[in-house]
């Protein structure tokens, strides 16, 4: 019996020492070079996570609950909010103002991001591969400038450009007193957002184009391919994943931008009321916090779908 005991003890000791050794190995493989250990590492991570949990995650979860109540900014329902179930969602999905807003948002994203920013950004990036360096840096500087200027300032620049009486556009085109922001509100904010955001697509595509092997371009030229065929058969297959990344990122950003509010405030008559502006007006101007939260959650869900598609593509690219 004692023999067995001793045996067991010995083997236990052996296992223990093996475990220690393995543990030691793993730590150095992990690169825990400062000797943090898991406990202290968790303590280092905790403050940042706490901040994110309280001020980013909690509000999002609260949206879930608020969207199920008739909570209002002022009045009786502000102090005594009532649980109304999915009424807000039913209201939203049957409300013509919400559906109008959703449609405008899709139009806005399609027009200014998917078509405007990526097509123009690509065209500029492509053209810049065939011009002198001086021209390239001048063009890139101005495209970038539109992106850098704070949004409060860039909207003023566009108010000055599009003004009815003294606007630069009317002076240039001789279009009299066309009130662009009132007569063409959607077109105006689409062009404005294209102006603001093209820089990102341009930068991304210009680094993508830099990675296309020049030998393939040369041989396609020798084979007599025109510019269009070259674009389709040589360049596009190389930058396909960049096109996807670019499209998804700018779609997310454009979908969530509030800046057009500073140009048209959603008007006239809700004709440029994209979702972020709609939520702001519904919840904080008109005080329907519950209804606004329901729309917010719908928006977060749409964001989630876009982001998941993005992560999926990222993972496929890695493997």
């Amino acid at each position: 019996m004692s023999e067995i005991d001793a045996d067991a003890a010995a083997s236990q000791k052996l296992r223990k020492s093996e475990r220690v050794k393995r543990k030691g190995n793993r730590t150095s493989e992990d690169g825990d070079s400062a000797g943090l250990g898991k406990g202290r590492a968790a303590a280092f991570v905790a403050p940042a996570m706490l901040l994110i949990a309280i001020f980013l995650v909690f509000p999002a979860l609260w949206t879930l609950y608020l969207g199920l109540t008739n909570y209002r900014l002022t009045g009786f329902a502000a102090t005594h909010p009532r649980f109304v179930g999915i009424d807000n969602y039913v209201n939203a999905l049957t409300d013509s103002r919400f559906l109008n807003s959703l449609g405008l948002t899709l139009l806005f994203v399609l027009g200014s991001a998917v078509i405007g920013q990526s097509v123009l950004g690509f065209a500029i990036a492509w053209m810049m591969t065939r011009v002198r360096k001086g021209v390239k840096s001048v063009v890139e500087f101005f495209v970038l400038l539109a992106w850098i200027v704070p949004s409060s300032v860039s909207t003023f620049l566009w108010l000055a450009l599009l003004d009815r009486n003294n606007g630069t556009l009317n002076t240039l085109f001789g279009t009299g007193t066309t009130a662009w922001l009132l007569q063409f509100p959607m077109q105006s904010i689409i062009v404005f957002n294209t102006w603001v955001g093209t820089a990102f697509s341009m930068l991304l595509f210009s680094s993508a184009l830099g990675a296309v092997p020049p030998t393939q371009l040369e041989s396609s030229k020798i084979a007599g391919a025109g510019a269009w065929a070259q674009l389709r058969d040589v360049i596009f297959p190389h930058i396909r994943s960049h096109v996807l990344t670019n499209t998804i990122l700018i779609t997310l950003w454009t979908f969530n931008t509030f800046t057009p509010y500073l140009l048209t405030a959603g008007g006239p008559d809700h004709r440029s009321e994209i979702l972020p502006v709609y939520i702001y007006r519904l919840a904080l101007s008109e005080g329907s916090l519950g209804q606004g939260s329901a729309v917010s959650l719908i928006m977060i869900l749409i964001n989630l779908v876009i982001a998941l598609v993005y992560l999926r593509i990222l993972r496929e690219k890695k493997s």
Partner: protein, 287 residues
């Protein structure tokens, strides 16, 4: 070389023609692109120095008077100060917490680290200022942080924190570990090692993040617009919308001069970072 070959054979004329048309097309395209991007900005260059600024872009009757008026306008310069407070406050918050978190995540394999990082990436892209404005507003009311600059800093900081941790972790991963190991042999504690070894080595990353955070906060309109009410606490991005003349018209002399003053710091920082580090991190620099 192509065109030289072309002149040699019989198809010289169409080839030359095509070359000429191509050049024309290229020039026209560049001219249009430049016009589209330059014309709106011209106002920012001319109007601030114009004695009688209007919305039309014109050669100015040169003056610095608009800036004198701006300096006398109560609240104008103070609002730039508020922008600086918000930008620096957020920057310090995300740098300190982000450096601690990304360092630990880079060096220790905490269980579920990769999932945590992916979830963070996901969260930062789906919960945006616009999508979460209602609960954010209510949360700040309940916490008594409405109309407080600290509240704005906490909200803005938490919004960009996931991205900060992401970018910083990449930088931390690239720091050679041998320095820390030798510091450890000499008996330095982890926090000491992070401060004396990690931070100096990660300086390019930290500088990048610092500039990025400042640019993000500097231009943000929505969060301070919703959360701040007292004019003396409001940053420049919001105050610019309060400059109206007694007749209710936008005060263009004031707005144009202020716009220029407000834009210069971010433009300068961008090009500083661009020349120093390149735009390799442009992924999330402005959303």
């Amino acid at each position: 070389m192509n065109s030289m070959q072309a002149t040699a054979d019989s198809s010289a004329r169409p080839a030359l023609m095509r070359h000429f048309l191509g050049l024309m097309g290229k020039t026209l395209f560049i001219a249009l692109v430049l016009a589209f991007f330059v014309i709106p900005v011209l106002w920012l260059v001319f109007a601030p120095f114009d004695a009688h600024p209007s919305l039309t872009i014109k050669a100015p009757q040169f003056t610095f008077h608009n800036f004198e008026v701006l300096f006398q306008t109560p609240g104008a310069i103070a609002s730039l100060g508020n922008s600086i407070i918000l930008a620096l406050g957020t920057m310090i918050l995300v740098l300190v917490l982000g450096a601690l978190a990304s360092y630990a995540l880079s060096r220790v394999k905490i269980p579920g680290r990769d999932i945590l990082l992916y979830t963070l990436l996901l969260l930062s892209s789906i919960i945006t200022g616009t999508a979460a404005m209602v609960p954010t507003f209510l949360l700040m009311v309940k916490l008594g942080l409405i109309d407080s600059q600290l509240g704005v800093i906490l909200i803005l900081g938490s919004g960009i924190m996931p991205t900060v941790i992401f970018i910083l972790k990449d930088f931390m991963d690239s720091i050679p570990k041998s320095y820390e190991e030798s510091a450890r042999i000499y008996g330095a504690k982890p926090l000491r090692i992070l401060w004396d070894v990690g931070v100096p080595l990660a300086r390019p990353g930290l500088a990048t993040i610092a500039v990025w955070a400042v640019v993000q906060v500097w231009g943000n309109f929505l969060v301070p617009y919703i959360l701040l009410q007292t004019p003396s606490r409001t940053p420049a991005a919001v105050v610019i919308y309060t400059f109206y003349t007694e007749g209710g018209q936008p005060n263009l002399a004031l707005i144009s001069a202020f716009s220029l003053l407000f834009s210069i710091p971010v433009i300068a920082m961008y090009f500083f970072v661009n020349t120093r580090y390149g735009f390799r991190f442009y992924g999330g620099i402005k959303s």
